[in-house]
């Protein structure tokens, strides 16, 4: 009897979750899709965003993302290499870095916003700018990048390391030609996760990259991200709802594309692992 009740409850919960999901996504699509057109994607917002499109916002979003990744990738890969390849020789240092990254991964995004505002915008004098926002996001996605790159490197068989050593290859060559290429799947998965997280972020950008919805002229200009655009239209602009819906759909589609890439990367990773070596 208990068994039967449990089964019914489990299916009920699954149904509840699925229908809520369908409700949210359905609502977004029904309200948002009709407003999406080439014109919407390729024109500037007008009347505080109630009319017009999102072109400068898309550009700002991509620029923030580019700054974020340009900084996070070298830092992340370098740290992952140190932790996985030299971790044993730098044990205490490695443990400290790892603990610090664990904490970093849990820091709330609004706290990143506070930090970015105090450090990048004011202390380093970058002001409210795409640069400041991108750097703040870089701090945020760094733990994700490091973790998956490290996992990728650890999945590379030790045979390669031994073979490289026996051939007298230098550390740099071994890393550059053998280990990092073999760890690419992990790197890509981390990249895709990081991009997803950065695209979705709002709170950390409120006080770093700012609100300005004009086309940015340089990285030192303020630029409004897609997520902030949605927030602003929904909260501060009466009558901005329909464009907020449309922007939300654009953001989710962008994220879905990234998600699809994750699946593909994961599949490739799996395949590589089952290929007889």
């Amino acid at each position: 009897m208990a068994d039967r009740i449990a089964t019914v409850v489990m299916w009920g919960v699954a149904l509840l979750i699925t229908s809520t999901f369908a409700w949210i996504v359905g609502d977004l699509l029904v309200q948002g899709l009709p407003h999406i057109s080439w014109d919407f994607l390729s024109s500037s917002p007008a009347d505080a965003g109630r009319a017009g499109g999102i072109l400068p916002i898309l550009v700002s979003t991509l620029l923030i993302l580019a700054v974020c990744m340009a900084v996070a990738i070298p830092l992340g890969v370098g740290t992952a290499v140190l932790l996985s390849e030299f971790g044993r020789r730098n044990q205490i240092f490695g443990r400290l870095v790892r603990y610090s990254l664990d904490v970093l991964a849990g820091v709330p995004s609004i706290v990143f916003g506070l930090f970015g505002n105090a450090f990048f915008s004011l202390y380093l004098g970058m002001g409210f700018s795409i640069l400041s926002g991108g750097l703040t996001l870089a701090c945020m996605v760094l733990p994700l990048l490091i973790r998956s790159t490290e996992t990728g490197l650890r999945a590379v068989p030790d045979d390669y390391r031994r073979a490289a050593a026996a051939l007298g290859l230098s550390v740099f060559t071994t890393l550059w030609r053998i280990l990092l290429p073999a760890a690419t799947p992990g790197l890509i998965a981390g990249l895709v996760l990081g991009i997803g997280r950065a695209l979705a972020e709002t709170a950390a950008l409120l006080f770093t990259s700012g609100y300005v919805d004009r086309m940015p002229g340089s990285l030192l200009d303020s630029g409004r991200s897609l997520s902030i655009h949605i927030y602003d239209l929904a909260m501060n602009v009466p009558g901005g709802e329909s464009n907020a819906y449309a922007s939300a759909v654009v953001l989710i589609v962008l994220l879905l594309i990234i998600n699809a890439l994750t699946f593909r990367a994961a599949d490739r990773w799996l395949q590589q692992r089952i290929t007889p070596v």
Partner: protein, 302 residues
């Protein structure tokens, strides 16, 4: 690989890069303290709990953060109460009840839910959920709305991580249960949940961390009135929402007070991370024995 003299700079570069990455946390803490320092000195830490209210910008500023702390804790607690059973049930469904094809699709769906940006949840809550609540008990933007949206956001986290924990239960345990002729529910209660308890517990802690730190979704649906809520339908303001709302125009003492609330958030998160590491320690020690990367595996044999 062989260490050559040209590799020494490389190694030092890597060390510098890792030190930089590791130093970000310190830098964050340092700048929060630096910016919060004026407020910690005067009015002093006690005022954040004993002042009569929150009027940080007036000429005789009042800095009582208690309503926001209560708002954060109550909203998080409510969301945990709602999302934990649902999330664990979803994990059990996917692992033990759903046919394989359904389980795969259900997992995908949970992953998609986990990937929806918080600002989109907040937007949906604002335009769909709060009007519904308003019809029932105005004003709609309320603690209840915040709890519902937060639950929706952390449910996928709990479900996906608990499912991973359930998946890593040794097959032998389940076979043992099956050989005893236990029913599915008895297996779940008697074997699966106890065996996966540390993984599930850490998923709940992680989700709690996300709920405490969530800003946008709560900001958009909770109403943001500074008060200790007296009912589910009363508007509340959380610590995170408070920062997001006021940092834009905050000056001097006010700004410092907001950084104090950032410090409080950071401390809460640190406690949760430490607790989760402590709970998982047992688990980590168990798996360390079979880690393929230990010393013996690297030592040449023979």
């Amino acid at each position: 690989m062989s260490r050559s003299r040209t590799d020494v700079p490389l190694l030092w570069t890597l060390r510098a890069v890792a030190a930089l990455a590791g130093a970000i946390t310190l830098l964050i803490v340092a700048f929060l303290i630096l910016e919060a320092w004026p407020a910690l000195q005067s009015p002093g830490i006690a005022h954040f709990l004993t002042d009569s209210s929150w009027f940080p910008a007036s000429t005789a500023p009042q800095f009582n953060l208690l309503p926001m702390v209560v708002g954060t804790l109550v909203a998080t607690l409510g969301a945990m109460l709602l999302a934990t059973p649902l999330g664990v049930a979803a994990a059990l469904f996917s692992r033990f009840y759903a046919p394989p094809v359904v389980a795969t699709w259900f997992r995908r769906l949970l992953e998609l839910l986990a990937g929806i940006p918080s600002v989109v949840y907040g937007f949906w809550g604002l335009v769909v959920l709060t009007p519904l609540i308003r019809q029932w008990a105005p004003p709609g933007q309320s603690l209840l709305a915040a709890i519902l949206i937060l639950s929706l956001m952390i449910l996928p986290t709990i479900a996906l991580l608990s499912e991973t924990a359930l998946r890593s239960i040794p097959r032998a345990y389940l076979q043992g249960a099956a050989s005893l002729g236990l029913s599915r529910w008895a297996t779940v209660i008697g074997v699966a949940l106890p065996a996966a308890r540390t993984g599930i517990a850490s998923s709940i802690l992680l989700a709690a961390g996300r709920a405490i730190g969530e800003t946008m979704a709560v900001l958009m649906v909770a109403g943001n009135i500074v008060q200790v809520p007296d009912s589910l339908f009363a508007p509340v303001r959380t610590l995170t929402a408070n920062i997001a709302l006021e940092l834009g125009y905050a000056l001097e003492g006010h700004r410092a007070a907001l950084f104090v609330s950032g410090l409080i958030l950071l401390v809460l998160i640190l406690l949760l991370v430490s607790l989760s590491r402590w709970i998982m320690r047992e688990e980590l020690n168990v798996t360390a024995g079979i880690e393929p990367y230990n010393e013996e595996a690297r030592a040449p044999h023979g």
